[in-house]
Symmetry: C2
Subunit: 441 residues, 2 copies
Amino acid sequence: MEVELIIKSTWIVPVVPRATVLRDYAIIIHEKKILRILPQQEALDQYSARHIVQLDEHVLIPGLINSHCHASMALLRGAADDLPLHEWLQNRIWPLEQEFISRKFVVDGAELAIAEMIASGTTCFADMYFFPDEVAKTAISANMRVQLASPILDFPSVWAANADEYILKATQTHDQYRNSDLVSTAFGPHSLYTVSDDPLRKIRILADELDIPIHVHIHETKTEIQDSIKSFGISPLMRLKNLGLLTPRLVSVHCTHLMDHDIELLSAQGANVVHCPNSNMKLASGICNVSKLVHHGVNVALGTDGAASNNRLDMFGEMRAATLLAKVSTEDATSLPAYVALEMATIQGAKALGLEEKIGSLEPGKFADVVAVSLNDFNTLPINDPISHLVYGANSSQVSNVWIGGKSVMRHGDLLTLEKTKIINSALSWQEKIEKSESLA
Amino acid sequence: MEVELIIKSTWIVPVVPRATVLRDYAIIIHEKKILRILPQQEALDQYSARHIVQLDEHVLIPGLINSHCHASMALLRGAADDLPLHEWLQNRIWPLEQEFISRKFVVDGAELAIAEMIASGTTCFADMYFFPDEVAKTAISANMRVQLASPILDFPSVWAANADEYILKATQTHDQYRNSDLVSTAFGPHSLYTVSDDPLRKIRILADELDIPIHVHIHETKTEIQDSIKSFGISPLMRLKNLGLLTPRLVSVHCTHLMDHDIELLSAQGANVVHCPNSNMKLASGICNVSKLVHHGVNVALGTDGAASNNRLDMFGEMRAATLLAKVSTEDATSLPAYVALEMATIQGAKALGLEEKIGSLEPGKFADVVAVSLNDFNTLPINDPISHLVYGANSSQVSNVWIGGKSVMRHGDLLTLEKTKIINSALSWQEKIEKSESLA
């Protein structure tokens, strides 16, 4: 049979089955999807292809999934460091956003972010930011997969005037991309301290009707939890439960400072968690007890959050931070072994975004979102354990080739769907504007 | 005046003065040392040079100093993951070392480690391992700066039969390199549970005579501290004090689980600490309270430890881990700001190794150990803050040029004093041996 693409690689880590390393296998790709994965000799016997890619020193993995991001904030990278969350938001980020957010800011920021993400092996990201329609267009142009968690707030912004308008726009965005392969949608109410109960109830009903996820920042800081208990007598997670939002549709971002009963709640209700270790550490927000969540069967994915509180959009760095933080915070070096960290950055992310039939592992029938990582570098030699190296050894700069939906978007380190020079010049131009900003005075 | 080299760079972060970013300056280098740092136009007016290097999108920093390493363990990278320290040592590392350590293992491992370090901007490392003479030769051949913390143990190994022989060899190593620019020496008693009091007292006397540091693993785990209290009634740090070893000559590696009185002791005695955040997290050893140590005026440097418990030898990763861990563990996002993390990886390391007159900052009279980092990559754009980007944004792969003692050892990503292909082949050859090892069964 003639197919579009065969990728032959010394190692393949499909993620499903778990902790498996296939040696000298090939992936058969046709019409955007993975057809089969089989030993290289059988592949060549049974298939011919328009393109055959031979990767001798590489490991193929599923494209990494960044389950929580504010992509366009890449332009604010380095503009607000060494500050706690509430000061960071109120004294730096919100004033800067007030000054600069526009369609152009969002497009340019999203392009920069997508470039960084593809270059570091991310093939799908969940974005919660203004002008999601621009983010969608930018992603499609780059052949990047995105889940738009359309923002909802009580207060007005450049995007909408009130909660109802945010919700209306979210449903319109959903309609617009209902049949898209690359773009999926979700509701993205910011948090329980920025969105009141009525809009949240509406979102619950609409999410069920449209069958899409709901992303929310929840239990990000001790202050948030204490304020909730002071004002409502219960934790934010319990408020979510009472609103009927704690369901398998929920993507609970952050979840630090969880008590045992919070973990049991998440587990019983089948909600998803997105862990953002670097952001949580940088803002001193707290630690998400990932080991315990995983032990209780909760689906935990990984996310970078925005580049202004990380400051990278690098899922390799997120995997590494997640496992190291888990080990030291539980005082257990067996916590979150490498293959689990890799699952969190792939199949668990797919589950959280409701896309586990389509992405998250290298399996027949799924989209061919494939990343090749060269192991032929000093820091991943000797190749004593490819999965270990992906998490504990590899540098994201070792990502050499990326395919999304079977289309090559990076080859030997060169981006094919984005113009590097244009993105750099655009970033430098924004740098000049930001330097002069009074918000940084 | 005619000099050997002028490096012109858009940004220079000299580390001393602290938190300073020089714009459009140049470094004048002559006879291995920094002569001056001054604005580019004045540099060109006053000096001519055999070589002029123009770096337009780069920041120059002092070469990073890895203050604690077991370089040759790079060959064991990925051979022993997700295990706590004592099991890791006893069930994997010691059996593997028993099987494989030889002069060839040490040479090949050290070469691999030095290649990874230079490529990621490290220009000086402190090594504690067997056959330090081979490590020295390998480092000199690569033009890499090294402090040999010659190992001392109570029990025999390939290197020596008993404590006295270890100590004798350490003094011989010191004599051999007494006049070397690149190689400095120290005593490296492994720990208080592997070296008894008599040898420790001898080391103290000899270190004073030879005026060299003493590196020791100390307070690495709770178990070590509890055992010391059980057996001796006092903590390991207090034992060190009673032995007269808690002095400015001491390089105390790890220092997790410090009580307030431990911190006061370190501060009062002027001892140095080397913090190894990634290793401490990976082995779930504990957290070193760096913020408190720094607040009490203790000199705290950074180290990667060996690649088998990290698994990288990347000081950018160490800086990032140090600051993020400090912020979340103290619940204070202002802990260890970026410029302090950078100091820990440079000038504080130089102080710990007793080399602060020679390296650790870009200042006239010091060795020209200089690293250029390209900021023209997606993850460090916009360039809102170069120092922030070095710690929170940069990927070590952005290191483009490295000079050690004014000699170019890496140019545009290519190593000049090491043969990449030979190192890779050697690593792959060791990989085959390790794969077949019964120690991994």
